[in-house]
Symmetry: C2
């Protein structure tokens, strides 16, 4: 590891390391000390960025790796009997593929919503390292647990809320995820289409449009295409919780 020549090829493409990655405090190596982080870093495979629309994972292919999003965003689409359903969005620092461990195949197609860079983490190496590093093991449990909790929150959202509440919750969730990684929670750009949002939330695309219009009229948000400005966060939160219904 002393000369550039000994570096594997993918290193040449991208000199990024976990220790210099701005997301490391949100990602799997979160709790690792420097020497441990370098060990972790060594198992990561980094690839050329995905262009918009490019597929990272094809549905049904064998599970070998989990993937951490470094920049950009992706959606997971599950195809069931011809029906396509958006079942998740992935933003930077989030892990893709944890839902594939059990069956050993990826349950859906995952593709980039914009130019996206990814860290691939071979799972057998991750597990071997996790055996040695309790902090990494803990973080892996926590990542999976967090996804479980987020999914349950989503379940509650879908099973009990009106269209307005769903959309408010969706925007707040995105907002919180942007805030967490240092971006403005008030102003951001949706990388997904209205159709994706509708499909994800179980709403017709027209309903998504109408609700966004309604939220805008009420002065809660301002939208311009895919640009979102949250004008009244607390009112939006109240709406998401179903407290006031105008």
């Amino acid at each position: 590891m002393t000369t550039t020549v000994r570096e594997p090829r993918y290193r040449r493409m991208n000199e990024t390391r976990c220790r210099t990655c701005s997301l490391s405090s949100l990602c799997l190596p979160l709790a690792l000390e420097m020497p441990d982080m370098d060990q972790f870093d060594a198992i990561i495979q980094r690839h050329a960025p995905l262009k918009k629309g490019e597929v990272l994972i094809h549905q049904g292919t064998p599970f070998n790796s989990v993937f951490a999003v470094r920049s950009g965003s992706l959606k997971q689409v599950v195809n069931e009997k011809g029906e396509e359903q958006v079942s998740n969005f992935y933003l930077p620092s989030e892990l893709i593929g944890l839902d594939a461990i059990d069956e050993g195949i990826y349950p859906g197609r995952v593709h980039a919503l914009e130019t996206t860079t990814i860290c691939e983490i071979p799972f057998n190496k991750l597990d071997a390292l996790a055996q040695q590093l309790p902090e990494l093991r803990t973080q892996l449990y926590r990542s999976m647990s967090k996804e479980l909790r987020d999914d349950r929150r989503m379940l509650r959202l879908l099973s009990s809320k009106t269209a307005d509440e769903k959309l408010a919750s969706f925007l707040i969730s995105l907002s919180a995820r942007f805030r967490r990684r240092g971006y403005s929670p008030y102003s951001f750009r949706l990388s997904m289409s209205r159709s994706d949002i509708g499909n994800y939330l179980g709403l017709a695309i027209e309903t998504v449009s109408r609700v966004l219009g309604r939220l805008q009229q009420q002065g809660l948000v301002a939208t311009s295409g895919r640009e979102i400005n949250i004008l009244d966060m607390s009112a939006l939160e109240r709406l998401a919780e179903g407290e006031d219904a105008p």
Copy 2:
């Protein structure tokens, strides 16, 4: 461990062991050989059965253990701003509490729907043992991954299906879970009320009633109170997939 006297008190209450448990092939020790299973067995805490309605976990209490259901069933209820939402049902061999690891507190109240016995597994001991036993570690990942996948399936169900499809999916899911542990997939008893089902599926209780009536009229199932008989599984599956809509 040579004399009965040295056994801790809860052992006296229940001589059950993993190696004699009929669920062991579905539960965490699934992949363990005998000596390893005994090690696992030693960290389990077994308690007196919960009576119907008794609370296993209070929402917001600190996470220390995961719980495996040995017999009976439970529901998880999340209370958010006074609104109560059923977010999961747990049947024998399923693990409770995996969604609590990340935040370190249990996200909902869990109580017994009927007389229920539980194995408590202190998480720090489980993790310590998982460090030594790769098979146990794998099984823990798989359990969490399976829950993730199940939750995603549920998300798709909630976001895209009609009331009839939701209920058909719900019955098929229960059926599959009974089949998996050796019970009849065609004839079983619901331990949850119509109200619980409706709350869980995002339907009014009246809708649950009406849909069950409809399914009965169509000859797909026969119901008598909480007794369910599935008469035409393939038609029910087709309905759940949204293929034919009469």
